[in-house]
Symmetry: none
Subunit: 192 residues, 4 copies
Amino acid sequence: MQKAIQNRTIKTRAKLLSAAEAVIQSDGYQALRVEEVVKAAGVAKGTFFAHFNDKDALMEILIGERLNACLDQAEAGTPPKTVPEIIAALEPAHSFMTSERYVFDLLIRYSGATAVADIGPIAYCFERYFRVVMLWLEAADMRKDVSSELLAEGVQAFAIQAMSLRFCALHSATTFTDRLETYLDAWLTPTG
Amino acid sequence: MQKAIQNRTIKTRAKLLSAAEAVIQSDGYQALRVEEVVKAAGVAKGTFFAHFNDKDALMEILIGERLNACLDQAEAGTPPKTVPEIIAALEPAHSFMTSERYVFDLLIRYSGATAVADIGPIAYCFERYFRVVMLWLEAADMRKDVSSELLAEGVQAFAIQAMSLRFCALHSATTFTDRLETYLDAWLTPTG
Amino acid sequence: MQKAIQNRTIKTRAKLLSAAEAVIQSDGYQALRVEEVVKAAGVAKGTFFAHFNDKDALMEILIGERLNACLDQAEAGTPPKTVPEIIAALEPAHSFMTSERYVFDLLIRYSGATAVADIGPIAYCFERYFRVVMLWLEAADMRKDVSSELLAEGVQAFAIQAMSLRFCALHSATTFTDRLETYLDAWLTPTG
Amino acid sequence: MQKAIQNRTIKTRAKLLSAAEAVIQSDGYQALRVEEVVKAAGVAKGTFFAHFNDKDALMEILIGERLNACLDQAEAGTPPKTVPEIIAALEPAHSFMTSERYVFDLLIRYSGATAVADIGPIAYCFERYFRVVMLWLEAADMRKDVSSELLAEGVQAFAIQAMSLRFCALHSATTFTDRLETYLDAWLTPTG
DNA sequence: TATGAATGAGCGTTCATTCAT
DNA sequence: TATGAATGAACGCTCATTCAT
């Protein structure tokens, strides 16, 4: 009995998630409406909120999943050693993060958790991004005068800066990759 | 004749802006309602939208003005030479930028302009922040292996990172100032 | 389950309709404001637009209902045989139709449907008016050289003409009833 | 001096009228906005209302002019003698009157004047339409048992009925011309 | 759990008309 | 006369979220 109910629950949740993905596939994240999702999933609106606290919770899951897949990809290859290699490895992640202004803003908004209990998929991804980069840096020939934790935090800061400027026509003389490379060269390369 | 009419326009605009400031003074930016503003300004709703495209346009102006005042203050003192001095000089700006989550998010959203014609008050402020910092760095004893433009962009990136983490309870073990100081020490200090 | 929900819908709709009727009772159709209606019904504004596409849709229903009641009344009595009797039987309908300029104009605007799916309450009433008159004419001693359908259409045309002139001070030398009687005598009475 | 001012006045009025005609030419009557007209005329909004009491006053003039031109055309030919000839002669007028739902509704609304002083261009046109038809009927071989005034009023009533049904998809099985011919045959032809 | 009608605060808009200059 | 900023009263709409069944 218990199990049957759980199955139903899981199925409904899956229906909602794949319906949402389908909606996003055709119209993007920004345009997603709860109404569309429930219609596509063939369930009632109330059901949606029985499964997700709010719309943003769904968004966090969907965006988190995609971003995690990008990080899987980044981790799958041989660990990058140089700045260009690091940028190349992170390219899928950066590309997705700037695929829509809406996605980028939501990522920024949820990048930190206000409480340990609030660590959601996106905050987790930012943590993971940081860890992955840190591990790479430890194995690479980078400046050693500061901790690799700090270096990794800096990479994240510069990546966000570069992504932010991607939405900005004024600074488009330089490409995203070139800008990030300039940043990271200056940040990671030992001066000496 | 022409001038008299312009004066009226200027006065009405001023009434709207100061009414909005009063509303914000008591309730904050987030809680600002267009209806409140027009009521306080003693002006019709239609008039509001004749002066500002939408609520965000007003917000940009108000937030831009405040931020500009912070930058005025930063420029007024003797140019800071060291990392702690730079952080101290920027403190009012950073403090305002993180005074409300709403303000920070809006700043991020409008920090870049998609077209030259779209440069709004906030995009202008980000530009100015960058210029001010750059001038300071030129006159200070910082690393010289990279351009001061690049250094200034980095300062901005780290400041945003640090501000972003301010909203994040998880990372609050370290204070904003300490974190930013750590970042900037590593970024600006000549290693060698 | 399903039925319970439908009942709620029906009740809300009824609340809106009777609230609207109350508002009209005191201020007339022209002065009806959506906000007043929802306030009187104790219902949210969004609910109004979930039940009616727009204000006109509500108006169509309300005016249609009243007009239908007038036609009920017309059909309730013994079928009129003569022109004066027909005019008398239709008097409540005509009186309501010209009770407000606003009502008359709305009736004209919605008297025809641009598609079968668009047949609203008012278009239905015009159809019904026509049918009622046609049945009367069939049983009465009127000219037989043309079909009763045609005769009934003519009655409608003349009634509209007479009603239209009712709003017109220039033609008010003759009363509505007298004018319509003149028209219908000439239209319905067998010559010869 | 006086004359100079009058010239200016006349010129401004002419500019407004031709600007309005140009706007209507491209977008139709319904879509005409005062703002568009004054922009096209190169005058201020206030000037518009110095020349016309309200927007409808302008509309009356423009529509009245066009309708009058149609009636000029109707009177120019040899007076029609038969029902089909009458319908043919009035065709341009009827066609214009049903060119837009907005035009038709406005015509109905202004077809009668509430006071002698209020006889506007449209009320005048309806009067003229009536007179023209009456004169035709007097010279034609129509039923003589009722006055030609009454007959002409009836023609008008039937024409309006037929025009009204033109907007109505439900009755489009019969064409406008056929319907009006049926009406007028039954109304005008002596039964005997 | 599921349902779906109802909520509700507020935004943006409309646009003919007025009025001080 | 001409100007054009200001008016102002609704309307329509949005849409995530709640809650009684």
